[in-house]
Structures are given as structure tokens and as C-alpha cells.
């Protein structure tokens, strides 16, 4: 497999000064390009049998409701040529409605919600579509700079066909005033690529009297159709 190079500006660089944690963690040496067809062109396949879906994060397995605004999130996963990425696992994690993660390292003094572990897992169907229920995550402070607050976001992790298509990203919400101030969101040079991380409010997806709907489509890196095309 010969993967397409990334579109210029669509991906962050490792070093993004405004995001302070990158300063000591970004490599200084140039990366070395691996040959096509390498080990990394393939990757793990997960199945719902081994890793059961958790498609409703808005309540516990025994039905206790998490605090917060219920949301339903749906979208489609395709590759760069528009082909659906079927049966791929999507891992999800997020803060609770008060902006606190159920994680020992999160020291923000907002309340924990015993009914919200904040973890989800869904699989795309044959057409690349996925859907899950949750609650809208809260914004939270972090120590990157004075008065730094992360915008509301949900973490997404996908594998696709291989290590080369591995994607970890964050879904943001429309109209969030914190986006313009966020170094992580702004680490993506291209304005349009950045904007695609913002989900779209969708009244058709919205469940009457129950949950607001947001649409979020994802594109995984694709292979060139033939190994030498455009090389």
C-alpha cells in the first residue's frame, strides 16, 4: 500500500509553541519515510464480539442517567476517495457536563458524576455510518497559559485499515467561543481543515423531547489506487 501524502496544512506539526506540552515532546530530527507495503500499512481489526459497543454514554448500563444536556452524535467515516470505511471501531472519551474527566489525573474541582464514566465505543456499519448517545461535555480549565480553557470536545480514536490511517482527533461544537483561543484546535494550519473538526447541529438527527443532534463526518487517510500514480 502506498499512502497519499497529507494535504498541506491539514495536519498539525509536532511542535506548536502555543501548546506548551509540545515543546519538550516534539522530535527535533526529521522523520524517516518508510517504504510502501511496510508492516505499518496493515493494522488491527476489532470486532464487537471482543470489544462490545458502548453506544449510549448518557446512562449507565443499569439505566442511571448522567447529568447534562443529552446529545446524539452521528456521522459517516470514509477514506479520501469517498469510499465508506466499514466495520471499523471508534473509541470515544470525554469530560462530564461539568468539565471533569473520570480520571485520577484530572484535578479540576468540578464535580464528578457517578453516572458518567465518559467512555464509549461504536462500530461503523457497512456504509461507514456510526451513531452514539452522550451528554454535552463541559469546558474545563487547563494550565497551558493564563486563563486557558479547553472548548467542549469529544475525543475520537479510529484505526481504519492500518497504522497509516490511524486517527485520533477531537469533535468540537458549533458556536463555541473558546475555539478561537484554543492552541490545540489552532495547531491545524489550514482554516478549512480546522473547521471540519466542528460538528454540525442537525435538527433531523435531533430526538424530539429528548436529545440534540450533531453530525460529525470523518475522513481517514487512503491509499493511492495504483502504487505509482502521481509518484
Amino acid at each position: 500500500m502506498n499512502y497519499r501524502p497529507h494535504t498541506v496544512g491539514s495536519q498539525p506539526e509536532y511542535l506548536h509553541e502555543a501548546y506548551q506540552s509540545t515543546r519538550k515532546r516534539s522530535p527535533l530530527q526529521p522523520l524517516v519515510r518508510l517504504p510502501p507495503g511496510c508492516t505499518e500499512a496493515s493494522g488491527p481489526v476489532f470486532s464487537p464480539q471482543h470489544t462490545p459497543p458502548i453506544a449510549d454514554m448518557s446512562k449507565t448500563a443499569d439505566g442511571r442517567e448522567a447529568a447534562g444536556q443529552r446529545i446524539v452524535v452521528a456521522g459517516r467515516v470514509t477514506d479520501e476517495d469517498g469510499r465508506p470505511v466499514a466495520n471499523t471501531m471508534i473509541e470515544l472519551w470525554q469530560a462530564n457536563a461539568a468539565g471533569r474527566y473520570d480520571h485520577p489525573g484530572d484535578t479540576h474541582d468540578a464535580p464528578l458524576d457517578p453516572n458518567f464514566p465518559g467512555l464509549g465505543r461504536v462500530f461503523t456499519d457497512h456504509d461507514g455510518c456510526y451513531r452514539f448517545m452522550s451528554i454535552k461535555p463541559g469546558a474545563y480549565p487547563w494550565r497551558n497559559h493564563h486563563n486557558a480553557w479547553r472548548p467542549n470536545h469529544i475525543h475520537f480514536s479510529l484505526f481504519g485499515p492500518g497504522c497509516a490511517s490511524r486517527l485520533i482527533t477531537q469533535m468540537y461544537f458549533p458556536g463555541d467561543p473558546l475555539l478561537a483561543l484554543d492552541p490545540i484546535y489552532n495547531s491545524i494550519p489550514d482554516t478549512e481543515a480546522r473547521r471540519r473538526l466542528i460538528s454540525t447541529f442537525d435538527i433531523e438527527l435531533t430526538l424530539p423531547n429528548y436529545a440534540l443532534g450533531y453530525r460529525f463526518d470523518l475522513v481517514l487517510r487512503g491509499a493511492r489506487a495504483t502504487p505509482f500514480e502521481g509518484a
Partner: protein, 170 residues
């Protein structure tokens, strides 16, 4: 053509998905042909030599062949000592490349994953492996896990600076 969705950091709070069993690729036992197991341990440090205690390591190997009894894929969080530990089977010999395990590093401060490879020091195929041989000899050792006991190999990862690990792109 659409361009691929932008990467964003995994952040420090992903650990809910670090299921303990995923550190052990031998958990299904089965027909791996009596192949020897190995424990790959490594410490991750940053440009100041500080321990990276919030990283997620993912490993991928296609040999022995991925099957119902061998997932090929592992995930491990680093602990308070910045250390990860993966238990797996020793990769098979291949006519054209040295045995290796692909390693993806995710962490707070990494806006996209870092990809490297663990080869095995002193393996005779290392001298003929095209990827390993393409690396400046001064830096090649950063890709070699070193033996530290029976079936135990150490593969430290330096994200930045002196002794910086060689990282790859595809």
C-alpha cells in the same frame, strides 16, 4: 478528493480505554507453534529527560501471523516511572527484513502519534534490513531493543534531544 481529518492530541485522560489485557498479546494462548514469548519494556522520556507518565503505547506486528489466537496488536499506558510493558511472541524471521515490532506513541503534547520500530539487538538479519540500514549508524541503536534477561528486552524511547529515537512517517 477529500483530505484526511486532522489529528488532535489524545490528551492525558484517555486511560479508560487502557484495558489491562491489551498489554498481553499472548493472552489467547493457542497455536503459535511453541514460539517463544518476550516482554518488551521501555521508558519514555522527553527533551529534558523527564519521565512521560501519561503516554499510550500501541504495538503492531504481523508475525507470527495475526489470528484468532494472536491479535498482533497491543496497547499499554506508561506508569509513574514512564514505563510500558508489552508481552508478545518473538516475531518470525523473514527472508528480506529483520524481525521488528511497530510502536506508536500517543501522549499529551503529541498532536499526532509518533511511529517507531523496535528491532532486536544482535539479530543477524539486522545487517540486511533495508529500513534499519537506511538509518544513520549513529542513530540506528535507538531502534534496537537490548536483551536484559531471559525473554526480556528493553526499548527506551527518547522523544526529543540527545539520543532522540528515530521516528518514521508513512
Amino acid at each position: 478528493m477529500a483530505s484526511a481529518t486532522s489529528q488532535q492530541t489524545i490528551g492525558p485522560f484517555w486511560h479508560g480505554h487502557a484495558e489491562k489485557v491489551w498489554c498481553d498479546l499472548t493472552r489467547f494462548g493457542g497455536d503459535t507453534g511453541g514460539r517463544r514469548t518476550l516482554t518488551l519494556t521501555g521508558c519514555i522520556t522527553d527533551g529534558d529527560g523527564a519521565l512521560v507518565t501519561d503516554a499510550c503505547i500501541e504495538t503492531w506486528q504481523t508475525s507470527p501471523p495475526v489470528s484468532d489466537t494472536f491479535p498482533g496488536w497491543g496497547r499499554c499506558a506508561t506508569d509513574a516511572e514512564g514505563t510500558f510493558r508489552i508481552r508478545t511472541f518473538i516475531p518470525e524471521d523473514h527472508p528480506r527484513q529483520a524481525p521488528h515490532i511497530a510502536v506508536l506513541v500517543h501522549a499529551r503534547g503529541l498532536l499526532k502519534p509518533l511511529l517507531t520500530r523496535a528491532y532486536f539487538a544482535n539479530h543477524p538479519m539486522n545487517e540486511r534490513d533495508p529500513v534499519l540500514q537506511s538509518i544513520d549508524p549513529d542513530r540506528r541503536t535507538t531502534l534496537l531493543a537490548r536483551p536484559v534477561g531471559e525473554g526480556r528486552w528493553q526499548f527506551d524511547i527518547r522523544l526529543q534531544g540527545e539520543g532522540e529515537t528515530v521516528f518514521f512517517e508513512i
